[in-house]
Symmetry: C2
Subunit: 340 residues, 2 copies
Amino acid sequence: MKKVTILDIAKELNVTFSTVARALNDHPAISAATKKAVRETAERMNYRQNKIASSLRSGRTNVIGVVVPSLRVTFFSSVVAGIEQVMNANGYNILLYQSNETLDQEKKGIETFLQSRVDGIIASISTETTDYGAFHEIIKRKTPLIFFDRTIEQLDMPSVTIDDYKGGFIATEHLIRQGYRRILHISADREISIFKERLRGYIDALEYYNIPVDEELIIKGNFSLEFGKSVIREARLSGLKFDAVFALEDYTAMGVLQQLLEFKVKIPDEIGVIGFANEAFGSLVTPQLSTIDQQTLAMGKEVAKLFLKLKKDEMTGEKKLEKIVLDPLLIIRASSERHK
Amino acid sequence: MKKVTILDIAKELNVTFSTVARALNDHPAISAATKKAVRETAERMNYRQNKIASSLRSGRTNVIGVVVPSLRVTFFSSVVAGIEQVMNANGYNILLYQSNETLDQEKKGIETFLQSRVDGIIASISTETTDYGAFHEIIKRKTPLIFFDRTIEQLDMPSVTIDDYKGGFIATEHLIRQGYRRILHISADREISIFKERLRGYIDALEYYNIPVDEELIIKGNFSLEFGKSVIREARLSGLKFDAVFALEDYTAMGVLQQLLEFKVKIPDEIGVIGFANEAFGSLVTPQLSTIDQQTLAMGKEVAKLFLKLKKDEMTGEKKLEKIVLDPLLIIRASSERHK
């Protein structure tokens, strides 16, 4: 029996080859009615799509690979949800890979995606990534690459980030407006640009409101819930005076909150606390944790739209490097709201 | 210039073809020293590996696809972490796909994995999955398939689950031992076997301790934080008397906790609360939430080990269907601990 081809289906339905091919690939430009007719005819004629052959021919797989440090962190899983919403609606499937914050795993993930001939790679780098070899390979192979949140500036690729400087500024400004004056800031001991920007925002907010910057109140370490607790314990031992804490991210802020509660400190009356990242648990704890929202869903959607635009520009031959920067949002909750 | 092959490298190093091939594929049986020598020689001789050709030849990609409802739920992301730990150590890379609880996305994920020629698929099905076509396709293609937690019993595939009946039993038994007698159980209104098993455990525990089962105390609905809150509000309106709540999962339990706190109910003195699943937020809230731990990391590791065993049995021609059932663990925290 002769094998049924796309052309046979096209003849049968009196439409073009390309209409059938796109209908079978669930292309958004083809109407639901046409897709239905093509699928029914294909089934009736016993057509079997050879996806691998078809992707080798077209060079397209309609699969996008996303590499992130960890999907256990709400921030990343929420950005991914935004990417999926837009990409799935446009006929793409999203494969995910966790680097678990190691360079080695990140490299393997990228290699696996390139091997699977994905149509593009979206990445947020691990804290260990100082060797950019795997990313150079993506570029060499002309596979579209977009970064979000944690980018590699030197590679000058399209990206979607939030304004971390502004995030640090508005978090600190909020505490000042609530009447706090001795604001302790917990930052990272590593050279990660997003955390340095948050620190810069903190310092500028203090200066803007004529509050002296006290180096003693800037504490750097390896951010985590445990580290947040230890900062409060050590501050108590050393007699450090402060009336508010702005932590670089929510897990650290949560440690601060827990240790203050253990010490029977009244939150927010005696000490106010604000975190960063709007992790899911922040609205579930008592008192609820104030934080900075990074518009994760919007970020994911912007990343996806940027990818679709890149693909379109590729076809029209246009070349424009876009770097989108989103605004952070202040989420005021009970942990820092002294005056309603 | 003649292209350098694996054989050239083997000759250069005076080792076998297979040693070089396995070293290049990062096979665990090859020593780190040999791998280093092979890689250095390959680099010196300008060898370029054709991964796609090599995977087409061997039929192996060393990639495993994992399909889960959502990685935003700690339970799934934690099982995945266990799978990754074991599989990565054995030279496999894990690609992830979220069905977002829809049958349509689940199908697309499986199709994408089959298209990428993964060496196996690990799945936990969506709540919508009643059509098993995509799973039949996996089986037809002889791609190894393992289920965890949410399985399709009819397909009779290897699986790793926990004993949900026992989980329901020990949660209820714990409340009884703490002196609670009127235990409200929140269950699901859909036919999902894991939830029916938890309910069965609840009923049997009451009967075991000679406490009458009151149908009024079994409330079914669409589980969520909001549903947990509404159950408590309606119980107050209807004057329903109860002194403890066992919720089918932690988000619902969290809603119960929040609503009780809003009503100024003393927890655990007046009413005790226990959830199920050990979501990450449970240890961060006040009072901390008692729950049932599903040994997620162990579950992931067991899934991975089962996969490796399947692969080995495949080679030796052995055939044994394994279904592993893990024990749930009781996590007692402040929300239900009346007597220390």
